[in-house]
């Protein structure tokens, strides 16, 4: 059993009581709320005559359903408009903090928590969204919950929880040029499988994560859930503190010194024990793409698609055969043979400023070479939040994208899950910087998704097919500061 890890320290500090079921009543320091998984939970509170127990620890925004072309109200989609009205009504009635368009702070919930400084080391964080694992980048225990659990957190600021196991995923060495945190994520999931992390929290450790920026760490922790791990985290360090200092909700004045002292003590001890330890070498990781229908079905951009006949496990083989049928691809094909119709840059995985800079650097390099987005490709960039959008425009990134033939949109989840007008049509194939390539994920039952880094998406948009991003020299990876 894990001992003296950051996970253990946070768990112990937040355990309220042992429940009659044998579960732990765990206090949730920060509850993030969005429009899709909360309306039923607020209704359940009404039915039971309960109020929100800690509205000062509850922060809401809207991201999944918002259109990204025009956010003028009322929305054209009447269902989306009703959902917007529900979150507005519920946050007002229950006194919950709400970051709407007027606040200038709206955005994807996992992007605004960190950028506002709400996400702080040592916290437990829950949200009705599986990518809550993102916040683990700050040395938090953060995980997704369902709507009935959202009700529990609203009503009590607590959850009934069973302890997790802890696996240390250690990667040492230096990443190759052009290899980004997204590639590291896809590599880990490819090696350990989409179910490899069930029951675990992942502690990301070693040179690669130590050298990674906070935004890179967020990308990796975001994708923990795609490998089956409900939570993933990095130990907090000077990079973490530097990111947080001065942010709106971060501790100020004497509280800052107290907080940093506290945060330093949180990191897993040198003699910490883990339920499992796995090590990889940074040098083995290449730019990756997924070719199938789970985030584990991936290859390096220069490899060939796998031969199903070489897969021993029958269940896995059937999954791969299903993937080939859906994707209309063939074993042995090269990724660079796959033409794309749509290029999507954004999402809670890769919709932050460094992601946009990385993609813009490809767009800029292409423009300098006289190239633009392939005319057969619809390419669009969706900043993760209003603040990311503003920062990008201050740097002129919008102009770089527009000049290269990308559309420049408003903040939201967009085509990551296609609960809004941004959807694939028919069997269109997208290069996407998001997190899931599940069948139907991007809005069309026959639509096809290739996951990759934002820089790789930008390169694919210009080439019109998957291509190795390393042909462009000025790649900023987010992996090195």
């Amino acid at each position: 059993m894990a001992k003296n890890t950051l996970y253990n320290k946070i768990w112990d500090a937040h355990a309220v009581a042992m429940l009659p079921t044998g579960q732990t009543q765990l206090f949730i320091g920060l509850h993030l709320v969005h429009e899709v998984t909360s309306p039923q939970a607020f209704d359940m509170l009404r039915e039971r005559g309960l109020k929100v127990a800690y509205p000062d620890r509850t922060f809401a925004t809207m991201d999944h359903i918002v259109p990204t072309k025009s956010q003028k109200r009322p929305f054209t989609d009447s269902e989306a408009e009703l959902m917007m009205q529900a979150i507005e009504r519920n946050t007002k009635a229950f006194g919950v903090n709400f970051f709407d368009f007027a606040s200038g702070k709206q955005g994807v919930v996992h992007i605004i928590g960190p950028e506002l400084g709400l996400t702080q080391p040592g916290m437990t964080i829950a949200c009705g969204d599986s990518h809550t694992s993102t916040h683990g980048a700050f040395g938090t225990l953060a995980f997704g919950i369902g709507t009935s659990q959202v009700r529990d957190v609203l009503a009590s600021q607590c959850l009934c929880m069973d302890p997790m196991k802890v696996r240390k995923v250690e990667i040492n060495g230096k990443l190759n040029a052009g290899v980004t945190p997204k590639d590291v994520s896809l590599y880990i999931i490819g090696k350990l499988g989409v179910k490899g992390g069930i029951g675990y929290a992942y502690e990301y450790s070693g040179d690669v994560f130590r050298d990674m920026t906070m935004e890179g760490r967020m990308t990796v922790c975001n994708m923990a859930i795609e490998g089956g791990a409900r939570a993933g985290y990095c130990n907090p360090d000077e990079t973490t503190f530097a990111y947080l200092k001065g942010r709106e909700h971060a501790p100020k004045g004497s509280d800052w010194e107290v907080a940093v002292g506290r945060w330093k003590a949180l990191a897993s001890d040198a003699d910490a024990q883990y339920d499992d330890v796995i090590r990889f070498n940074a040098a083995d990781i290449e730019p990756m793409i997924t070719w199938g229908v789970t985030p584990g079905q991936s290859v390096g951009v220069l490899e060939s698609l796998p031969d199903p006949e070489k897969i021993a496990d029958e269940g896995e083989k059937q999954s791969v055969l299903l993937a080939y049928r859906h994707m209309k691809l063939k074993p042995g094909q090269k990724p660079s043979d796959i033409a794309i119709n749509v290029a999507f840059i954004g999402s809670c995985t890769n919709g932050r400023i460094e992601d946009l800079r990385a993609a813009a650097s490809i767009a800029r390099a292409a423009t300098e070479l006289g190239q633009k987005v392939d005319p057969r490709v619809q390419a669009f960039v969706v900043p993760g939040s209003m603040q990311v959008r503003k920062a990008a425009m201050e740097e002129g990134l919008d102009k770089v994208f527009l000049a290269a033939g990308f559309e420049w949109r408003e903040a939201g989840c967009s085509m990551c899950l296609a609960m809004n007008p941004d959807q694939l049509k028919g069997d269109q194939i997208s290069a996407s910087s998001s997190n899931r390539n599940f069948i139907g994920r991007q809005g069309s039952p026959t639509g096809r998704t290739l996951l990759m880094s934002p820089a790789m998406v930008a390169a694919a948009a210009i080439a019109g097919h998957v291509t190795d991003v390393r042909q462009y020299t000025s790649v900023t990876t987010g992996a090195a500061q």
Partner: protein, 206 residues
């Protein structure tokens, strides 16, 4: 709250690994602000062509209408945390899910609805699925007291399969405490004491 100890009914096999919650319920149905219609949507895009014509799927076949037990495989319910997925299954009529393994959030969501999500071995699930495919009228019994599934077609042919689930979740179901809000709210004084010890998201250090 009701105790959940025994689930009896026919079983519907949904064969395949890594069946994600987007496949169980496509995101467009998450635009509804109540769960009331979710029972119309499970596996929608696998059951219906875009023009509405029915496709071949276990949830469409006549012999599985009214089934109470879903038989899945590896990593069932992976992906999105959407409770709409178990809501859709439960409102369609599913009262227990059996699989080789479950995604954590999905399994947790099931227990919140009073629906057992129990694990059986690969071999046992193959045998149970085979039984449900060859003899769809077979009655299955999921017994949480014994942590067994009993199923049989014909006299003297009863199969008995061992199943497991985290003990705390089993306790919550068999003792009728799976709706956890009341348990948590009852400790509000302890919660207030804990909150006072911990830093606040506004930066205040306790």
């Amino acid at each position: 709250m009701s105790r959940v100890t025994t689930i009896t009914g026919r079983a519907v096999p949904v064969v395949g690994d890594d069946i994600d919650t987007d496949r169980i319920i496509p995101a467009r149905y998450l635009k509804e602000i109540t769960f009331s219609r979710m029972g119309e949507y499970p596996f929608y895009d696998e059951r219906f062509a875009p023009d509405g014509t029915k496709k071949d799927h276990p949830f469409n076949r006549a012999e599985y209408q009214g089934a109470a037990i879903l038989l899945g495989n590896v990593n069932f319910g992976c992906g999105s945390s959407r409770e709409h997925a178990p809501q859709a299954l439960v409102r369609w009529g599913i009262k227990a899910v059996v699989a080789e393994s479950f995604a954590e959030i999905f399994a947790g969501n099931c227990v919140m609805l009073g629906t057992p999500a129990v694990v059986a071995s690969k071999e046992d699930l193959s045998a149970l699925q085979k039984l449900a495919i060859e003899h769809p009228g077979t009655e299955f019994v999921v017994n949480l007291d014994k942590m067994e599934i009993h199923a049989g077609h014909g006299a003297g042919q009863t199969m008995v399969v061992k199943v497991s689930m985290p003990p705390s979740r089993r306790n919550a179901l068999v003792n009728g405490t799976w709706d956890s809000t009341a348990l948590l709210v009852a400790n509000s004084a302890l919660v207030a004491a804990k909150a006072a010890q911990l830093p606040h998201p506004n930066g205040r250090q306790a």
